[in-house]
């Protein structure tokens, strides 16, 4: 099974410049663990002790995973995951 993951510019230093990578996992948490095995350090940019970092948006297909199950959101073969840092400030 494989899930396409879209990597934002700021995290492409982990993926050797690749915009799209593929990953594996039954849910988002497992997918991130899988990505981190190949792109060490990327998980820390996405999650902290509380779960998904507040200013990182992760979408499963068209839906923000915060409105699905967060890190427990199930992913399936052929799904597409998009990571986008929030555009925010003060």
């Amino acid at each position: 099974m494989s899930v396409e993951v879209r990597i934002p510019t700021i995290l492409r230093s982990y993926t050797g410049g690749d915009k799209n990578v593929t990953g594996d996992g039954a849910d988002l948490r497992a997918l991130i663990v899988d990505l981190d095995a190949r792109y060490p350090g990327i998980a820390e940019r996405l999650v902290d002790e509380q779960g998904l970092r507040r200013f990182v948006n992760v979408y499963l297909n068209d839906e923000d995973v915060r409105f699905l199950g967060g890190l427990d959101t199930a992913v399936a073969d052929g799904d597409s995951v998009t990571i986008l840092p929030a555009v925010a400030g003060g």
Binding site: I10, Y59, V87, G89
Partner: protein, 139 residues
């Protein structure tokens, strides 16, 4: 240096005035790798706050998909400060996540929603380091 057409600067200022006293925000997209801001995209400040801005998460996805389809990137990311100078705040610096973008700050503290003096300044924000740059306004 940020090279930008006058009408795009005017559009950012008009948006900032219209949303005053809340912060206004948006991007100016341009062809990938061109460093040329061309397409003005005002965004809704989902925080609707005088001290904070955040693109709505669904709008953000739509914006990035659209830029992808058009072969664009966010050349300028702008927002306004409505009570302080046009300099990146600590939160601006910690959330800045587009190392290739010009971060433009518009301050409406002196003009409010009316005509009047407005401050427009541009920065690079990379790895927490802010570097101000000149703005060259072209016709």
């Amino acid at each position: 240096m940020l090279k930008i057409r006058a009408e795009l600067v005017d559009a950012m200022v008009a948006h900032a005035r219209a949303d005053h006293p809340d912060e206004a925000c948006g991007v100016i997209a341009g062809p990938e790798g061109s460093d040329r801001p061309e397409r003005f995209v005002p965004m809704v400040n989902a925080a609707r706050s005088p001290t904070f801005y955040e693109f709505d998460s669904a709008d953000l996805l739509r914006l990035y998909r659209e830029m992808d389809d058009l072969g664009e990137e966010p050349v300028v990311i702008y927002h306004s400060h409505t009570a302080t100078e046009a300099y990146p705040s600590r939160t601006d610096i910690s959330y800045a996540s587009e190392p290739l973008a010009h971060y433009v700050l518009v301050s409406t503290r002196d003009c409010g929603p009316e005509e009047g003096p407005v401050e427009v300044r541009s920065y690079r924000i990379v790895d927490g380091v802010v570097t101000e740059e000149q703005i060259e306004i072209v016709a």
